[in-house]
Amino acid sequence: MKVLVAVKRVVDYNVKVRVKADNTGVDLANVKMSMNPFCEIGVEEDIRLKEKGIATEVVVVSIGPNAAQEQLRTALALGADRAILVECNDELRSLTVAKLLKAVVDQEQPQLIILGKQAIDTDNNQTGQMLGALTGYAQGTFASKVEVAGDKVNVTREIDGGLQTVALNLPAIVTTDLRLNEPRYASLPNIMKAKKKPLEIITPDSLGVSTASTVTTLKVEAPAARSAGIKVKDVAELVEKLKNEAKVI
């Protein structure tokens, strides 16, 4: 079966972002950009499905600026077969991204669609679920285990208080959580090979999707800073402070 994985180009997770002085957003000039960590887990999962002989083709798609080709090439180097970039420079909301992905899904007809549970820039945690609504497919979010069995996929999900397993009819949508797998690194020969793999660039217009949104960001501010307190010399002083000064125990 064909599987599809969506990846997002985001600020690298090691970068400490700063809010711009004019409060219009965060400063992304000259900042290292990478594949969203949850998307990396999604790519790894699809590649493992191919290695197990379950998936026959892994298609990777990204929606973002031209530079997102870099993240698509990374996915190709990791083992994806083919890439699609829906090129768009506007900042898109999750619903628009889901609509664009729906249009790609209609064309590609994958049996399993994997996405990261959230992007570490907007922290929305919406796109997979929205794609579920738009396609009418079942969703297994926050997955820590994915097992394809016949025309179903069993997904074990990380929920508050433990784990839940659901059986979903295929085609289905899965969003990844941290423990699903540990992504591999791309080897140099595979990075070279990835340069020759197909990468198609299309536009939202060609998919017939409007990028308008009902949400506007008015301003972006730094959070209230928390200042360092005092150092205590031993456990006895700590307990004394917590009891008598902070009065929390």
């Binding site: 609504a133 009819n169 008015l218 501010e221 360092a228």
Partner: protein, 309 residues
């Protein structure tokens, strides 16, 4: 304006997070209705009817809703929610799972994890792991929102006397099924609801050493959490993770043990009232946010702390 709040519950008991979400609804202002969708969950509807400020409870009692499968519940919420200006759910794993599906069915954007209400259409929410706070405005006809509980003080669970109306809409869409669940059995309070949280990081070295934290937690009536590093290293399960990609907590007292203080962890706990850090590395970033820092080997300090309590 009429606001629909989706109740968080276990079919037998109302989840505490619902009270924070009702508080957010109050801040928006308007008539507040609560939807209880589940199976054999009449007791939850009765509890919801007592919440301060709620004027009506809608009860959708159907076997198809027993396990909160989003494929079955989202169409119900979208159908019921058409008559409201706002649909609010708690930003729990359940709320996060279901609500975006509802928003897409209604063809509106969702606003995730708000921490403050500026007006009926303007909200504050953290982005970039809490390193920035965005103020966003929505002109959608129906505003679909998840609420981060730590941003709103819970309303009183008692004092209201809402009417309860049974609904008969919705059912099994037939594309998903519940197989099973493994819930951690613990007498300790839930992480997001606990007044005190004791968390361990990579410095704990292995899962067995968390037993030391459990003993301290039991003396304090605290919940036990962990950093992503401790989860990634396989010491403890992911549902204990405090941080941007795990649970967001804001207890009265947060004790970070052997946690360096990565941005991703701080995002999950920096709104705690009092923060204590115990770490042998005096340059660890956690000390920059701690009210009380103790530079010490945790394997000596924690047993000592247990005795001192």
């Amino acid at each position: 304006m009429a606001i629909l709040v989706i109740a968080e519950h276990t079919n037998v008991a109302l989840g505490a997070a619902t009270l924070n979400t009702v508080a957010a609804a109050k801040a928006i202002g308007g008539d507040i209705h609560v939807l209880v969708a589940g199976a054999e969950c009449a007791a939850v509807a009765e509890a919801a009817a007592k919440i301060d400020g709620v004027s009506k409870v809608l009860l959708a009692d159907n076997a198809a809703f027993a396990y909160q499968l989003p494929e079955n519940i989202a169409p119900l919420i979208a159908e019921v929610g058409k008559n409201y200006t706002h649909i609010l759910a708690s930003a729990t794993s359940n709320g996060k799972n279901i609500l975006p599906r509802v928003a897409a069915l209604l063809d509106v954007d969702q606003i995730s994890e708000i921490i403050a209400v500026e007006s009926a259409d303007t909200f504050k929410r953290p982005i970039y792991a809490g390193n920035a706070i965005a103020t966003v405005q929505s002109n959608a006809a129906i505003k679909v929102i998840t609420v981060r509980g730590t941003g709103f003080d819970a309303v009183a669970a008692e004092g209201g006397s809402a009417s309860i109306e049974a609904l008969t809409v919705g059912g099994d869409v037939g594309i998903s099924a519940f197989v099973g669940e493994e819930l951690a059995k613990s007498d300790r309070p839930e992480l997001t609801a606990a007044k005190i949280v004791v968390s361990g990081g990579r410095g704990m070295q292995n899962g067995d050493n968390f037993e030391m934290l459990n003993r301290v937690a039991d003396k304090l009536g605290a919940a036990v959490g962990a950093s992503r590093a401790a989860v990634d290293a396989g010491f403890v399960p992911n549902d204990m993770q405090v941080g941007q990609t795990g649970k967001i907590v804001a207890p009265d007292l947060y004790i970070a043990v052997g946690i360096s203080g990565a941005i991703q962890h701080l995002a999950g706990m920096k709104d705690s009232k009092v923060i204590v850090a115990i770490n042998k590395d005096e340059d660890a970033p956690i000390f920059q946010v701690a009210d009380y820092g103790l530079v010490a080997d945790l394997f000596e300090a924690i047993p000592e702390l247990e005795k001192a309590l």
